[in-house]
């Protein structure tokens, strides 16, 4: 072969194979077998998939997950944009805001989970102490809503800065002339935002939206550390559900639910990407 250029692709292909292709194929292989410790796996076709899709626990975890991700997107994206636009554009104020926004992003997931656990501890935590002032008994171990909202607010605190930083970078890249033109054209503040800022932030928003969707759909460490998915199954999100099945050696079930999980993430991401790339481009007006 004359062209040896393809040799340079080997490291990339190897990394991709080890990190994605081989694990994925293993999972799919598991999902098509009935596996029980000590005996040989038996091929069962799509039986595991049917079992997963009929399992109320899986469907409930999926519903919980969809509601959670929707809440995350509805709150974090607008909040991130608002923070980015409110930030000073230059000077010491800009530096301070960037550092403050960066701090949550530097904290690992499990540490965030532990911080939350300490803050919400029923006897020594600050948050139950605060709610006690209003005679409200805040307890993440007993009240499903308390646990759910704690995880939600934790995620908003942890990840809104990412959206804000993306939007801030995008905002800095918009030339002043666009704002001057809008000013000269007599556009109101809202119209300037709607027709200048928002369209120019489109590409960073697509990235922010997809990242937050995929990440929130995979949420794992926080609910695990806070309540282990409880109380009851109130914070048993999809990833926790799948992990539990794998831990109890139901590898066929876990494989099938993982494959369905991945499929859902891909389909949603694709739909969002298409919608956001084509929305408001001015073709249909």
């Amino acid at each position: 072969m004359k062209n040896r250029g393809w040799l340079f692709l080997i490291p990339a292909i190897a990394i991709l194979a080890i990190s994605a292709f081989i694990p994925l194929m293993t999972v799919i292989n598991y999902s098509l077998h009935y596996i029980f410790a000590g005996s040989d796996p038996t091929f069962v076709g799509f039986e595991n998939y049917i079992e997963v899709l009929r399992d109320p626990a899986f469907l409930k975890a999926l519903g919980r997950q969809l509601i959670f991700s929707t809440m995350i997107l509805v709150v974090e994206i607008p909040l991130g944009i608002a923070i980015a636009l409110a930030m000073p554009k230059r000077g010491i104020g800009a530096t301070i805001s960037l550092v403050l926004l960066g701090i949550p992003l530097l904290i690992p997931f499990n540490v965030v989970g532990i911080i939350a656990r300490v803050l919400t501890h029923s006897s020594v935590g600050l948050i139950p102490g605060f709610f006690a002032l209003f005679n409200y008994n805040f307890n993440v171990a007993l009240d499903p809503l308390d646990a759910y909202m704690t995880i939600f607010i934790l995620d908003v605190w942890h990840w809104t800065p990412l959206v804000a930083l993306l939007c801030y970078a995008g905002r800095q890249a918009i030339p002043d002339a666009f704002y001057q033109a809008a000013q000269i054209d007599g556009a109101s503040a809202w119209k300037t935002f709607r027709y200048v800022t928002l369209p120019k932030l489109r590409s960073v928003l697509i990235i922010g939206f997809l990242l937050r969707f995929m990440d929130s759909f995979k949420i794992y460490a926080e609910p695990l550390l806070l309540t282990g998915g409880g109380p009851g199954d109130a914070t048993t999100f999809l990833s926790l559900h799948v992990a539990r099945k794998a831990e109890s050696y139901q590898l066929g079930y876990a494989g099938a639910s993982s494959a369905i999980y991945l499929f859902i993430v891909i389909v949603f991401s694709y739909i969002f990407f298409q919608l956001m790339t084509n929305i408001g481009k001015g073709e249909n007006q």
């Binding site: 000269i184 928002l198 120019k200």
Partner: protein
């Protein structure tokens, strides 16, 4: 449309904490009037304060001192949206999420104009700008020249526009479309009789667009006039060199008896000129345009001999760089005059085509 007048404008970007005597002025003591419905250009080298002046006119910048008048009213303190001065920027500024029609309708809709009237105005302007066929097209799909036309459209669609400012509008346009758009700008100006101010460092663009050109250097107005005036009677040696391609030849000289003595040669002057010059002093700068130098292959009268060092052929004429020891001049030679590099030519400086500067000011 209205007359735009700048009165004694000063502007500094230094904060007020900088002591008065240390402040750097981007614009100082500027007085310019752009008459109603005229095509004007503001011409100057990069960094001369053109954009500052433009922003002061549009209201994006408040001058440190001085007044801006539009029509007969003082608009110095007004915000950009209250001044009704439109602007076309260096690169096309369009609203990406709107189609061509909505882009042009935007300023009108912001004024809450009724939709049928918006429609009538937009169609009228689209017709003039030849955008009618692409009104429904997404504005992002267009080339830079068409986008720049939309920008222009947005600025002229409003009835109450006092003036249109064009800030080097052809910078990012493809060379092939540049000429087209330049003609269109001129045409629109002539047809709509809107006061337009074209800012550029490109003399060709300024001279072809405007009837009235103001030349600015280091934040000061140094000359204002028609392209012809600027070309024939530059107020300073700088303008002589800046306007025209190639620029004016400038040679230091000394008046002694009836002769102007240059570094490497001398020429006789008539009694009349000598008298004029004597009233000023004896050190001058002589300026002559390359096309005014009379070049011949054989000596005649008091011609000066030069050695030809470089010939640049443009097709219609040749630009010849000639040397005599340390003196170097450029002359425009018609195609039919034979010259060759390394050869000798004779040059004459006709007295009626010569400009003479004393202390950086034109006296003849």
């Amino acid at each position: 449309m209205a007359r735009i007048e700048l009165q004694n404008i000063f502007h500094t970007y230094d904060p007020s904490t900088v002591p008065e005597e240390q402040r750097q002025y981007a614009v100082s003591g500027l007085d310019i009037t752009f008459s109603d419905g005229s095509a004007n250009a503001l011409l100057g080298p990069s960094g001369c304060g053109k954009t500052t002046i433009l922003n002061i006119i549009s209201g994006l910048l408040q001058p440190s001192k001085g007044r801006v008048l539009a029509g007969n009213s003082n608009v110095t303190a007004l915000a950009p949206r209250e001044r009704h001065i439109a602007q076309v920027f260096q690169f096309p500024v369009i609203y990406d999420s709107m189609n061509v029609y909505d882009n042009m309708a935007f300023p009108l809709r912001n004024q809450k104009m009724p939709e049928p009237e918006v429609n009538r105005k937009v169609l009228e302007i689209a017709e003039i700008l030849e955008l009618t066929d692409i009104l429904k097209a997404p504005s992002t799909s267009l080339n830079a020249a068409d986008k720049q036309k939309i920008s222009l459209g947005r600025s002229i669609v409003r009835q109450d526009t006092m003036a249109v400012l064009l800030d080097e509008p052809l910078t990012v346009i493809d060379p092939k479309l540049k000429g087209n758009l330049r003609r269109k700008l001129r045409e629109v100006q002539a047809q709509l009789k809107k006061t337009m101010i074209y800012v550029t460092h490109d003399q060709h663009e300024a001279l072809t667009f405007a009837d009235n050109v103001a030349i600015v250097k280091d934040g000061r107005l140094i000359q204002q006039g028609t392209p012809k005036e600027l070309h024939a009677q530059p107020a300073t040696p700088f303008i002589g060199y800046f306007i025209g391609s190639p620029g004016m030849n400038l040679l230091e000289c000394e008046l002694k008896d009836h002769k102007l003595r240059f570094a490497d040669f001398q020429i006789r002057v008539t009694e009349k000129i000598k008298k004029r010059l004597n009233s000023y002093g004896n050190r001058f700068q002589l300026g002559i345009r390359p096309e005014s130098i009379v070049v011949s292959a054989a000596p005649e009268g008091q011609d000066v001999d030069f050695r030809v060092s470089v010939i640049e052929n443009t097709g219609a004429y040749k630009v010849v760089t000639c040397e005599k020891r340390s003196t170097r001049i450029k002359a425009r030679v018609p195609e039919d005059v034979q010259v060759k590099e390394g050869g000798t030519i004779w040059a004459a400086f006709p007295e009626d085509k010569v400009n003479i500067f004393y202390n950086e000011q034109r006296i003849i």
